[in-house]
Amino acid sequence: MSAYGDTYNVQVKTGVLVTCDSAAKQILLHLDSQRDGPRKFLVRDIDETHVMIKREFVEEIKELLQDELEKNTYVQDPNM
């Protein structure tokens, strides 16, 4: 910090606070890492269970996460 007046600076951003478990968060980070430019949705990786993302992506992300989780589900053979 160059001038001491900057100490009291505050940055303000709006977005959507996402609360989730840490596994789901890792999937979100992974999804974001595969995107670039304006399609990136992550605003800030906050902590283990919180991320902040851009509002316009919320519904899309929810669906993508659901799809990702669906891939990891074991479907039992219905004839068993």
């Binding site: 009291y8 600076n9 951003k13 977005g15 959507v16 606070l17 609360t19 989730c20 478990d21």
Partner: protein, 491 residues
């Protein structure tokens, strides 16, 4: 972390608001004013039913002083309950809270160095009349004077009629939600309108809800939840929807509500005269016939028979309606391998099971199916929660299930249902405004301010990040600017 507590699902259910079958009624009554109660308590039947709905302690206190001319003194209540004489007054108020809420007792007053609750005079008179058989309001119904014994339905016939009519409505609701519906009779127009107005059914092609085509109604998630409730709860909910529809038309609902209570005090198998019993609520009585609460041999007769749906309304005890068909209701065997055996041939029950069970085999009196992820999740998409499925399964458990050591439903299944429920919403998204600080001092002050105004969503002291509700952004920004100015000038 949004970690569910699976270990005590039953505890949470107990704390839930919908434990009592009369929850809908209680919610309605809690919002009424003194004048509404004055009107209600003119009917002796209402006084009796409200008394029955109170907890035992309140009931005792009220009966204890019913014949006294004095208000209830707090000292007497303390002695009666064997409480410490130094018990603070608010604690005593809590004891009689249900009676205060129902305006049976007026709020505590201070008189000649004594604290006391005066009793509502209308209620006192009503209950005295109810107990002694005095009074002229005919609120317990006027028997119909008939000349012949012919054509009088038996109790069993009345029960069957009530059951058929009400289940017909439920069947119609559930069949609208299934891809392969089964043939059902369409309920009458007024019934459909109520189902739509109450939000239990909706017309998907009419998003505004203004001009629904009542022939094309489909069930909503609220409707699905309604289906899984026990019968007593369903009845009171329907009656309350009916009552609010009446109020929306700016009709007086007190007369109709006291009619519900009167019906609740009637005898199954007895016939009553509609014009003498409910001179001011004839239209409402006719409406209730469509739901199976009363039976009439023909449209224009003055004679009517209340069915068991009506007479069990105010029993104050949900088990009465249950016990009548306890054997029919207890038909489910759930194994630890998620297989379900349902000993039933009731179309409605099978249709409800079909909502969340993958039905594999169907015999005349037995249905075999399996709780699997796909079906349960499909049900959850429709708005049914894990709690509702669990309470449905346990309330319909076969007597054989009670022979194995408790808990009734195996924990693996209960936990799995909760897990499936959790899976759907692993993300909780809320609009936010993030404030990033560089000064610890400013961060702490702002955090305290946000916390005091209930604006704080989340805070990370280590990174000096604050997340606040968007609508408070202006106020918090203002606060931050003011603090900034002070801190800067302070140095």
């Amino acid at each position: 972390m949004v970690q569910p507590s699976f270990s005590h699902p039953t505890k949470r259910e107990d704390a839930g608001p919908s434990t009592s079958p009369t929850a809908a009624l209680d919610a309605f009554l809690d919002n009424q004013h003194q004048s509404y109660y004055e009107e209600l308590y003119k009917s002796e039947a209402v006084c009796l039913c409200i008394l029955r709905s109170l907890p035992p302690v309140c009931r005792h206190i009220i009966l204890h002083i019913l014949w006294s001319h004095q208000p209830i003194r707090t000292v007497d209540v303390k002695l009666f309950l064997q409480m410490d004489l130094k018990t603070p007054l608010p604690e005593l108020d809590e004891v009689v809270r249900p009676a205060l809420n129902r305006k049976i007792l007026h709020p505590m007053i201070h008189k000649k160095a004594k604290m006391q609750w005066p009793m509502n005079d209308t209620f006192k008179r009503g209950l005295r009349n109810a107990l002694t058989g005095l009074g002229t309001s005919n609120s317990f119904g006027v028997p119909f004077e008939r000349d012949t014994e012919e054509g009088i339905p038996t109790q069993e016939e009345l029960v069957a009629y009530g059951e058929d009519t009400f289940e017909g409505i439920l069947k119609y609701m559930v069949s609208s939600g299934l891809e392969i519906g089964f043939p059902v009779a369409r309920p009458q127009e007024e019934v459909l309108q109520l189902l739509h107005a109450s939000g239990l059914m909706t017309d998907p092609s009419d998003p505004t809800g203004q001009n629904p085509n009542i022939n094309r109604l489909t069930i909503t998630s609220k409707g699905f939840q309604f289906l899984l409730e026990d019968r007593q709860t369903q009845l009171w909910e329907i009656l309350m929807y009916y009552l609010s529809a009446k109020e929306a038309n700016s009709e007086r609902s007190a007369v109709v509500l006291s009619m519900f209570f009167s019906l609740g005090c009637m005898q199954l198998g007895q016939d009553y005269s509609a014009s003498a019993s409910f001179p001011h609520a004839q239209a409402a009585l006719n409406d209730l016939a469509q739901y199976g609460f009363i039976y009439r041999s023909s449209e224009d007769t003055d004679q009517f028979f209340p069915t068991h749906l009506a007479t069990a309304l105010c029993s104050g005890d949900a088990t009465v309606t249950k016990s009548q068909d306890a054997d029919e209701k207890r038909f489910l065997i759930l194994e630890t391998n998620y297989k379900i055996y349902a000993y039933t041939s009731n179309e409605l029950e099978i249709a409800i099971l079909n909502l969340f069970v993958d039905i594999r085999i169907r015999y005349p009196n037995l249905v075999v199916g399996k709780l699997d992820r796909k079906n349960v999740k499909a049900a959850m998409e429709k708005g049914i929660s894990a709690h509702q499925i669990i309470s449905y399964l346990s309330s319909h458990a076969h007597p054989q299930m009670y022979n194995s050591p408790p808990p009734l439903l195996h924990p693996t299944i209960v936990d799995q249902l909760h897990l499936w429920d959790r899976e759907r919403n692993r993300l909780k998204a809320e609009d936010t405004v993030m404030f990033e600080f560089f000064s610890k001092e400013l961060f702490d002050d702002t955090e305290a301010e946000a916390r005091a105004n209930a604006a704080l969503q989340h805070s990370i002291p280590s990174q000096k990040l604050l997340f606040i509700e968007p609508h408070t952004k202006a106020a918090i920004t203002e606060f931050v600017k003011e603090r900034q100015a002070r801190l800067r000038s302070g140095i």
